[in-house]
């Protein structure tokens, strides 16, 4: 049954609308605006999450296999990470950015849904599958937020902003690390080695190194710090989908979308 994806544009429209309302309300200075923002943001997240759950039930397998499916989780987690950052640190504009970025991924998914049948090749049938991919997706969205905050900080740096970047960055790196290590434990079960320097793994190492570099830079080098976070996010895109276009990944064990 492909029923799930047929209704996606409508569900996504409702979620985006609620998120836009949240972003607008978060710009209002009043306490009432803040409450409205939080409620509509939660509404948007619940709608997206409900779609993911429904898709999971219709497909009879976790919707985490194709690039389209990972983009779906990414949009969901971006909205979640944006809302959490807003609720915790009250950044007025963060939800506008996270909504915008989530919308871009939703539009890509509507324009290019790719295949979403219910088959899951044996290589992906593992208890590691769900924690590995969902933790990664959550870290990607936190690191996406850190990138947006850093871009803003390059233009208008403040102490408060620095604190937010650090918090979001450290959480993002923590989840990225857990995603990568769960992948290595899974790799041992599936292929017999923890780490093989396969194209995807190698780019994950480079990305991880870039984020650790940002983390180890002293607070005096603020601008270098922001720039490293932004470059690391480019590395993250390579690791997530860029490798699929590299000749070195032609024989990669991590490409599940092209032929299957």
């Amino acid at each position: 049954m492909i029923l799930g994806w047929n209704i996606f544009p409508w569900v996504a429209a409702v979620a985006v609308l609620l998120s836009v309302v949240a972003a607008v309300c978060s710009a209002l200075p009043s306490e009432r605006g803040r409450h409205m923002a939080i409620y509509s943001a939660i509404g948007g997240i619940v709608v997206m999450a409900a779609f993911v759950v429904m898709l999971w039930l219709t497909l009879d397998r976790p919707p985490l296999r194709t690039m389209g499916e990972t983009r779906l989780w990414y949009s969901l987690f971006l909205l979640l990470a944006g809302a959490l950052t807003y609720i915790r640190w009250r950044y007025r504009w963060i939800m506008s950015f996270s909504t915008l970025l989530a919308t871009v991924f939703i539009i890509i998914n509507i324009a290019k849904p790719e295949l979403h049948d219910h088959t899951l090749m044996p290589a992906l049938q593992s208890p590691w599958f769900i924690p590995h991919v969902s933790v990664y997706m959550f870290s990607y969205s936190l690191l996406g937020c850190a990138t947006l905050l850093s871009l803003y900080a390059l233009w208008r740096p403040t102490k408060e902003l620095d604190m937010a970047i650090e918090r979001v960055l450290i959480s993002g790196i923590a989840f990225f690390t857990i995603g990568m290590l769960s992948g290595s434990l899974w790799a041992k079960e599936a292929w017999g080695t923890y780490w093989n320097w396969d194209a995807k793994e190698a780019w994950a190492a480079a990305t991880w190194g870039l984020y650790l570099l940002a983390l180890h830079l002293t607070p005096q080098r603020r601008r270098v710090y922001y720039v490293v976070i932004i470059i690391a996010f480019i590395g993250l895109q390579m690791c997530w989908w860029g490798v699929n276009y590299l000749p070195s990944a032609a024989g990669s064990e991590h490409t599940y979308t092209m032929q299957n």
């Binding site: 044996p122 918090r167 923590a174 989840f175 017999g192 190698a202 480079a206 570099l213 024989g251």
Partner: protein, 277 residues
């Protein structure tokens, strides 16, 4: 020139000369002779290396080399090496992991990690000491077990047939070796989705007299360090396969890798909970 600038110039020269030497070795000798360092030589060399690092750490108040190796510049160099390794190996279809420059880079990263971990462990004032130790010691174990344990790692392929038991195994260089137990294929099965794509490949293999089912993602752990994986089958005959190909992986150091990975995960959880640097 100021003293610190003179030091920086020295450091750049040392790093540059080492890099040139490693690439030259690669050019002259070829791949790094990993298998030469099989047990017990790897333990011996690793112990000497640890002693050397402790010596370097002890001289930190007087030696310029010790100070440089413990500095933030060395941390940045180590992380840059990881990034460079990732990008260079990520662009290669067959990653060249046993080359002199790769071995040198990993040895530098490990050496720096050991030095700063000793310093962190002895620093009673360290605010986030437990997290620091979990992350850095975990990384030393995870990378170190893979690095020093690589010579002891064995990958043997066995063609397991249904007609007769076999103990002939082939190394990656094509040389045959005999296992101290037999394997025989007793049963092979492929399950399909309704779309016709396979959902599972299952091989029943009698290993040392006991029947085991091998599937993708479900290998058989014969001993603590030896695991048997199903990697291929008689594709011409499909579900009536008369043979399957299994890989026997011997990795005596694997539990050190697991310890390191678990420590790193715990460190990551603490990073999330504690937040700040």
């Amino acid at each position: 020139m100021s003293k610190s600038r003179v030091n920086t110039v020295y450091e750049i020269i040392v790093v540059g000369v080492s890099a040139i030497a490693l690439f030259a070795m690669q050019h002259i000798v070829g791949e790094f002779p990993v298998t030469l360092f099989r047990f017990p030589l790897n333990i011996l060399v690793a112990a000497l290396w640890c002693a050397l690092l402790v010596g370097i750490y002890r001289k930190r108040s007087t030696s310029r080399l010790s100070q440089a190796l413990l500095s933030m510049r060395a941390t940045i160099l180590a992380l840059s090496l990881i990034i460079t390794l990732g990008i260079v190996l990520g662009l290669q279809a067959k990653p060249h992991t046993e080359s002199w420059p790769v071995v040198g880079a990993i040895l530098f990263v490990l050496s720096h990690l050991v030095l700063i971990t000793i310093r962190g462990a002895r620093d009673g004032q360290h605010r986030l000491r437990i997290r620091f130790l979990l992350n850095h010691l975990g990384l030393i174990l995870a990378i170190g077990a893979g690095f020093w344990g690589a010579p002891d790692r064995e990958e043997l392929r066995v063609i397991v047939e249904s007609d007769k038991p076999t103990n002939e195994a082939y190394r990656s260089d094509g040389k045959m070796t005999l296992l101290d137990y037999n394997m025989q294929l007793s049963d092979f099965d492929i399950e399909y989705y309704d779309t016709g794509t396979p959902s599972a490949f299952k091989a029943g293999v009698v290993v040392d007299g006991r029947e085991q089912t091998l599937r993708v993602n479900h290998p058989y752990n014969r001993t603590l360090s030896e695991t048997i994986y199903l990697i291929s089958y008689d594709t011409e005959r499909g579900a009536d396969a008369r043979y399957c190909i299994v890989e026997v992986v011997r990795e005596p150091w694997r539990w050190l890798s697991v310890a390191g990975i678990v420590m790193l995960m715990a460190g990551a959880v603490l990073m999330f909970i504690e937040g700040k640097r």
